[in-house]
Symmetry: C2
Subunit: 242 residues, 2 copies
Amino acid sequence: MTRPAPLHELIRARLEQEILSGQRPPGSRLPFETELAAEWNCARMTVGRAINALVEAGMVQRRRRAGTFVTRRSVQETVLDIHAVAEEVRASGRTYAYRRLARRESGAGAVEMERLGVAEGAPVLLVVGLHLADGEAHAVEERLINLTAAPEAGRERFEEAPPGDWLLAQVPWTEARHEISALAADGETARRLGISAGTACLCLERRTWKSGEAVTWARFIYPADRQRFTARLRQPGGRRGE
Amino acid sequence: MTRPAPLHELIRARLEQEILSGQRPPGSRLPFETELAAEWNCARMTVGRAINALVEAGMVQRRRRAGTFVTRRSVQETVLDIHAVAEEVRASGRTYAYRRLARRESGAGAVEMERLGVAEGAPVLLVVGLHLADGEAHAVEERLINLTAAPEAGRERFEEAPPGDWLLAQVPWTEARHEISALAADGETARRLGISAGTACLCLERRTWKSGEAVTWARFIYPADRQRFTARLRQPGGRRGE
DNA sequence: GAGTCGAATATGTCTAGACATATTGTGCGG
DNA sequence: CCGCACAATATGTCTAGACATATTCGACTC
């Protein structure tokens, strides 16, 4: 039994369908709110709400006095889900394990300055760890933590659990950025992953900030055959997990 | 001069800040709409609108009779912008060019069945092309088009312009999915890109549907040093391009 | 103690107005 | 013909209500 959809949802769905079908081509003007309100026999605010959802989805743009116009589609904005490595592995039905390979506190050098965006000599913590799936190397994680932003991290050993989990729980971030690239494994990485040097690898870099201050930088390196990222188009009217 | 922000926006920003700062921890209940309305001295619908924006951003969940609760953060949902290759190249200030390498119409075999999800023997079009930046190979594009879904594509040569542009204009899709992976260049790909076989490459696969029917499959292969994808965290209250 | 039913209540949707504000078109004067 | 002031207008925001609906809580029964 499907509950009756609210009116603003019906209006939104109808307009969306007309846009996607090409019936309302990019650049064309939608009927004015008052016209739609008369057509659907409802208040202007109800159609306004429907149209605002389309604005939110990037399908139309509104200009006062001019009207509402169908957006020209140019950039495909897709949604990429990046889980924690442990979840990725468990989701595929394998057992997950973690092993710390190295831990070092130091003052920021050139590399750390670039990766974290901190001043020279600022205290930073480097942790290198290996993520295992069914006992086999799944990914190498290199992690830099800005100890100025997260001083409590200096007291953690990160021997049993990866720093990501701890940071997520301890330091709420407000902004994060990801970069996905490919690279050939260098000697050390190859040795850690048990592959031969030069093997193609997928690389995910993540930078996290809390209110403008860099908290952590992380790089995950996966052998090419062991990981891929999937993204789906943002569903314009998609309801969020129920 | 910043225009005065609307009240629902102020309320949303305030609540968001309280959530991000940890002042309102995950699982905690927000004040009831009526309480917030009294606190801000406004109508209930105004605070409702503010809270709905937080729902949209996935920061809170609402349950009738129970109230509104701060969501536990689990999956990081990020937004990935995937431009057309031509735009990517031009955005970096280089000149863009395209060269078609091959074109073949045939009935779907095992590979095409898997990639497009069509029946055996269904008419498909394969186009292979090279994207060039400043005269240098930037990416190889392999493209399969379902001629049942887009029969007009059979009359196109795709010699000057890549099929992506034409398809985008002709066949509005309703769903698309992307996969990003790394691979080592095979002999033919390496030759086309002017690199040596085995070089690490970044690979983007895209599948596009129109109302449930597969329209096209595309695979872009970039040498590792020539492309990376960036994603940013979905800005909860981010305004869309103005 | 377990289960059932009904009342209480917070959210969900909607209306018919109001006024604000950005932008467009127009007419007037130079 | 150009520029400028002004009126027209479509969206943007907000209100004070109304009724619907899902969920919870408590009272009552077995």
